[in-house]
């Protein structure tokens, strides 16, 4: 199951909640304001590292670009809308609005 998070972790508990429920191996995709979570060097960088021990973590590149985020936390993979589609092709989706 693909989990998407679209709100800033500074403004919403969505990421924190999602992480509590996500199952081992399930991919997590950050979109919209959610991408602030993976900006390298902020206070969520450790949480993102911990998450990656069990889940692949993606961020929507156009949303990173729009917010001027050029360096993401190690291991996080930037993907386009087509990559988003590929993840949806492979998984059911759980959007943590």
């Amino acid at each position: 199951m693909l989990h998407t998070i679209n709100t800033s972790p500074f403004e919403s508990p969505a990421m924190e909640e999602c992480i509590r429920f996500v199952q081992q191996g399930d991919p997590v995709l950050f979109i919209e304001n959610g991408v602030y979570a993976v900006q390298n060097g902020n206070r969520f960088t450790d949480a993102i590292a911990a998450l990656q021990k069990t889940s692949p973590v993606y961020a929507l590149q156009p949303d990173l670009d729009a917010r001027g985020i050029s360096i993401v936390a190690p291991g996080v993979k930037g993907i386009g809308y087509d990559g988003f589609v590929d993840l949806v092709e492979a998984h059911q989706v759980n959007s943590w609005l």
Binding site: M1, A14, E17, F21, Q92, V93, N94, S95, W96
Partner: protein
Amino acid sequence: MEDNVKKIMHVMRRAPHGSIYTYEGLEMILIMAAYEQDLSIAFIGDGVYALKKNQDTEGISMKGFAKTFMALDGYDVEKLYVDRVSLEERGLTEDDLLVDVELLDSVEIGRRMTEQDVVIHH
């Protein structure tokens, strides 16, 4: 073969009355219940407040809907899961809730989420 029966989980994540999401979510659940799908509802985060007893919305001139959760049983929607951490963090216990629910750990709710065909957050 249950070809057309889908497992659909509704996730309540917002406090009631401050916004309409919980209420319109409930309207969606009531309609879906008529289609004989495998429905469940999880209450996570501020979503647990939707089930709080003694809500009286008269003073804000809005329709209350807490009691509609009590009617879900009659629609055969019986799988109500409440996230234990969310409830405790808010200083609430099962006694504060209007309806009988399953109080579950996040790992267990997460496991049931993964089994779904569709998950809709409200």
